[in-house]
C-alpha cells in the first residue's frame, strides 16, 4: 500500500512580506510585549531575509543607525533604545551589523573589553553587571570574540571548563552546573565548544542519541523528554546534530514536512500548526529548513547561526562544516 504525502508548499513570498511588515510595526500589542528584545527580532528577521536572498528589501542605513543608537559607553548593546546593555543583545547587534556589511562601524577592542569584563573566575560569563550566569552567555561571548577577531580577550580554556561543568548524565547540557539538559542550552554549549575548537568534550554518540530522541511521532522536535514539539527546536536540535555530523539520525523529511505545516497561510511560521506566527519561529523554521537542505534557501552555519556565505566573506573558519553531505 502506498501513501501519498501531499507536499506542503514553502510560502517564500508570503514569509518575506510577513517579515518586512512586522519590521515596520511599532505600535501594536506584540511590539510592546517584547520591546526589550527588539534587537534580536531584527537579527531573526534580517537573517531570514538574507537566507531567502532578499535582504535588500530593507534599507540598510536606518537599520545601522538604529543598532548604533543602542550601543552604550561600556561597549555593550541594549535590546532596544531606553534599555540597558546586555550580552544577549550585544551578539544580536553584532550579527545585524555583519548582515548589513557594517562591522567596520564597531570599535572592536571596546567590545572585546566589555565581553572580557563579564567573564567570571570560574570561566562562566555574566549577562551584565548584575551577575546572572548562563551557558547562553558563554556561547555569546565565544561567538562574539571570534566574529570580531579578538579571541585572546577571554580565557578560552576556562570558558570551556565551565561549559564542560554543565554537561549532564545524559551527555546533554544545561544553563548552569547541575541544571537539567535542554536542547536550547545544548545548542549553546555544542556551538560554543565547536567555535572554541573543543568538541572532544562532547560524547557525540551519547548526545546524538539524546538529540535524535527529540523527534516525536508527528515529525516535529521537542526540547527535552516528554515535552511538546516546537519549531524553534528545528534549529536548536538540528544545528547541534549538524555540528556533530549526526543529522541523519532523525527523519529529515518528516521534520521538514512538519515545519511546513507550521506555516501560517498569511505568512510567517508558528511554534506549532494552528498557532500564531511570530518572527522568532519564522526565522528558526527557515533556518531549520536551510540545515535540512531545503531548496531555495541559502546555507546557514549551525554554530554561528549566520549565513555561510557571509562567514566566508568574513574569513571565519568553519571546521565542522561538512562539504560532503552524505552523512548529514
Amino acid at each position: 500500500m502506498t501513501t501519498t504525502i501531499i507536499k506542503k508548499e514553502f510560502g517564500k513570498e508570503k514569509h518575506i512580506q510577513y517579515i518586512i511588515e512586522k519590521g515596520k510595526k511599532k505600535d501594536d500589542f506584540e511590539y510592546w510585549a517584547i520591546e526589550q528584545q527588539h534587537m534580536s527580532g531584527v537579527y531573526w528577521g534580517l537573517t531570514a531575509l538574507y537566507l531567502l536572498n532578499r535582504i535588500h528589501e530593507v534599507e540598510f542605513q536606518p537599520m545601522i543607525s538604529y543598532v548604533l543608537q543602542c550601543q552604550h559607553p561600556n561597549g555593550g548593546f541594549s535590546g532596544n533604545v531606553d534599555h540597558d546593555p546586555h550580552i544577549l543583545y550585544t551578539l544580536s547587534a553584532i550579527q545585524v551589523l555583519a548582515l548589513l556589511d557594517a562591522l567596520d562601524r564597531l570599535d572592536k577592542q571596546k567590545i572585546a573589553n566589555y565581553i572580557a569584563s563579564l567573564q567570571q573566575p570560574d570561566g562562566s560569563f555574566a549577562g551584565d553587571q548584575w551577575g546572572e550566569i548562563d551557558t547562553r552567555f558563554s556561547y555569546i561571548a565565544i561567538s562574539i570574540v571570534t566574529l570580531i577577531g579578538k579571541r585572546e580577550a577571554i580565557n578560552m580554556q576556562k570558558a570551556v571548563e565551565f561549559i564542560v561543568g554543565c554537561r549532564n548524565f545524559d551527555g546533554s547540557f544545561g544553563c548552569i552546573p547541575g541544571a537539567e539538559s535542554h536542547a536550547g542550552q545544548t545548542f549553546c554549549c555544542v556551538g560554543a565548544l565547536a567555535i572554541a575548537g573543543a568538541l572532544e568534550h562532547v560524547d557525540h554518540d551519547l548526545l546524538g542519541w539524546w538529540l535524535a530522541e527529540r523527534q516525536v511521532p508527528c515529525g516535529g522536535l521537542n526540547g527535552r523528554p516528554e515535552k511538546l514539539p516546537d519549531v524553534c527546536y528545528s534549529w536548536w536540535v538540528v544545528s547541534s546534530l549538524s555540528i556533530m555530523h549526526r543529522l541523519h539520525w532523525i527523519d529529515k523529511q518528516k521534520l521538514a514536512h512538519w515545519i511546513l505545516e507550521c506555516q501560517d497561510e498569511d505568512g510567517g511560521i508558528a511554534d506549532r500548526p494552528g498557532d500564531m506566527p511570530d518572527i522568532f519561529h519564522t526565522f528558526f523554521g527557515i533556518a531549520g529548513l536551510s540545515l535540512l537542505g531545503y531548496e531555495n534557501i541559502d546555507s546557514i552555519d549551525p554554530a554561528f547561526a549566520l549565513p555561510v556565505s557571509l562567514l566566508n566573506k568574513l574569513s571565519i573558519p568553519l571546521p565542522w562544516a561538512n562539504n560532503n553531505n552524505n552523512n548529514n
Partner: protein
C-alpha cells in the same frame, strides 16, 4: 511567543486601551530612571509596566537600583543619628534614640550577628508607630515586600529568566535575614503546578545550597517522592543524577547506592515501559556501576520485560546496549536493530549506524 492560538491580526478595542496605558506608564518609569529617581514612588511607577511585560529587564534593574539606594540611604541616616547621639549633651535625646535604634548598636559588637536577627523582632515591642525602624529592619521589610511582588509575577510568568534571577538577587541581598523555608515552600508549590519547570528546579538548587535548611539526603528523598508521583518526571531523575555522586562521597558506598537505583528504575519500567526518562537514567547507572554481574542481571530483566511487552523499543535498545557494554554482541543481535528500525522508523539511520559496531567488528 509560545502556545498562542491563531486569531485575527486586528487588535481588539480592549487591547488597544491596554497598550495605550502601558505606553504612558512606561514613559513615566523610564523618565524617572533617566532622572535618577530612587524613591518608593519611582518603585511604584514600574509595577504596571512589569505586569504588562514582565521581561522588561531594564525595569527590574531599576528596581534593584532603587532598593539598594533606599537601603544605603537608611544606613546613612542611621549613622547620622548615631553621630548626633554621640555629640548630643541632651540625655533625653540619647534615651529616645536608644529605644529606636538598639539593633544598630548591638550590631557593632563582634558576636552580635545572631543577636541582630532576634533583636529586630524583639525591638518591635518597644516600637511605637512613630519610632523609625532601624536601617536593618527597613532593609528586611523592603526586600520582603519585593519578594511578595516577585512571587505574584512568578505565578503569572513562571518561565521568565529575568524574574527568577531578580528573586535570587533579592534573597541574596537579604543574606542571613532571608526566610529560606518560605523559598523552599515556594519551590514546592511551583513544582506542584509544573514539575518540569527548570527555572524552579534551578532556584530550588540555589535555595538548598545557599541555606543548608535541608540536607542532600532530604533533597534526594524529594526526588524519590516526585518520581513516585510521576515516573516520567525527567527533571526529578536528572536531579537524582546530580545528587547521587554528592551523597555517596566515599567510593565504597556508591556501588550499593547504584544497585538501589536499579530497583527504583525497574519499578518505573514495569509500571510504564514506554516512559523514556527511566531508560535514560538506567544507561547512566550502568555506565557508573561497571559491574559485570549487575549488567547481566539487568540484561535478564530486559528479556523478562520483553516477554510481556515484546515491542517495547526501550527494552530492545537497552538489551542491545547492555550486550555492547558486556562486549558480547554477535551477528544475531542485528535482529534487535532490525526490530527497532521497524518499530521506530524516525531513527532508522541511528540503528543502522549502531549496526556498524557489529559488522565492522566481524569484518
Amino acid at each position: 511567543m509560545h502556545g498562542r492560538k491563531r486569531d485575527t491580526n486586528v487588535m481588539s478595542k480592549e487591547t488597544e486601551i491596554r497598550v495605550k496605558h502601558h505606553i504612558q506608564a512606561r514613559q513615566i518609569a523610564f523618565e524617572n530612571r533617566l532622572k535618577k529617581e530612587y524613591t518608593i514612588e519611582a518603585l511604584k511607577s514600574t509595577v504596571d509596566c512589569l505586569n504588562f511585560n514582565s521581561d522588561l529587564y531594564t525595569l527590574w534593574a531599576y528596581r534593584r537600583e532603587i532598593i539598594l539606594h533606599l537601603i544605603e540611604q537608611a544606613k546613612i541616616e542611621e549613622q547620622k543619628l548615631k553621630q548626633n547621639q554621640v555629640n548630643s549633651t541632651d540625655s533625653k535625646d540619647i534615651i529616645d534614640q536608644t529605644n529606636s535604634t538598639s539593633t544598630s548598636t548591638s550590631n557593632s559588637t563582634s558576636n552580635s550577628t545572631s543577636n541582630s536577627t532576634s533583636n529586630s523582632t524583639s525591638n518591635s515591642t518597644s516600637n511605637s508607630t512613630s519610632t523609625p525602624k532601624s536601617a536593618e529592619e527597613f532593609k528586611i521589610s523592603l526586600l520582603n515586600e519585593e519578594l511578595q511582588f516577585i512571587e505574584k509575577c512568578i505565578r503569572h510568568h513562571p518561565k521568565s529568566y529575568w524574574i527568577w534571577f531578580h528573586r535570587k538577587w533579592a534573597t541574596k541581598t537579604l543574606e542571613i535575614h532571608c526566610n529560606w523555608q518560605r523559598e523552599l515552600e515556594l519551590c514546592n508549590l511551583m513544582l506542584q503546578f509544573d514539575n518540569r519547570n527548570f527555572h524552579c528546579w534551578n532556584y530550588r538548587r540555589f535555595v538548598t545550597s545557599e541555606s543548608n535548611i535541608v540536607t542532600l539526603k532530604q533533597e534526594f528523598e524529594y526526588t524519590t517522592s516526585k518520581i513516585e508521583e510521576s515516573f516520567s518526571n525527567y527533571s526529578a531523575w536528572h536531579q537524582r543524577s546530580a545528587l547521587l555522586p554528592q551523597i555517596q562521597s566515599s567510593a565504597s558506598n556508591l556501588p550499593q547506592a547504584l544497585k538501589k537505583e536499579f530497583e527504583l528504575v525497574q519499578q518505573a519500567f514495569y509500571t510504564e515501559p514506554s516512559d523514556q526518562s527511566a531508560w535514560f537514567y538506567h544507561r547512566w547507572i550502568r555506565a557508573k556501576i561497571q559491574d559485570r554481574s549487575e549488567l547481566l542481571k539487568e540484561l535478564k530483566m530486559c528479556e523478562e520485560l520483553l516477554e510481556i511487552e515484546n515491542d517495547c523499543k526501550w527494552a530492545i535498545l537497552t538489551k542491545f546496549f547492555i550486550k555492547k557494554e558486556l562486549n558480547e554482541l554477535t551477528q544475531q543481535d542485528l535482529t534487535l536493530l532490525n526490530q527497532l528500525e521497524g518499530i521506530d522508523p524516525c531513527r532508522a539511520n541511528y540503528y543502522r549506524d549502531l549496526a556498524l559496531v557489529i559488522t565492522t567488528k566481524t569484518n
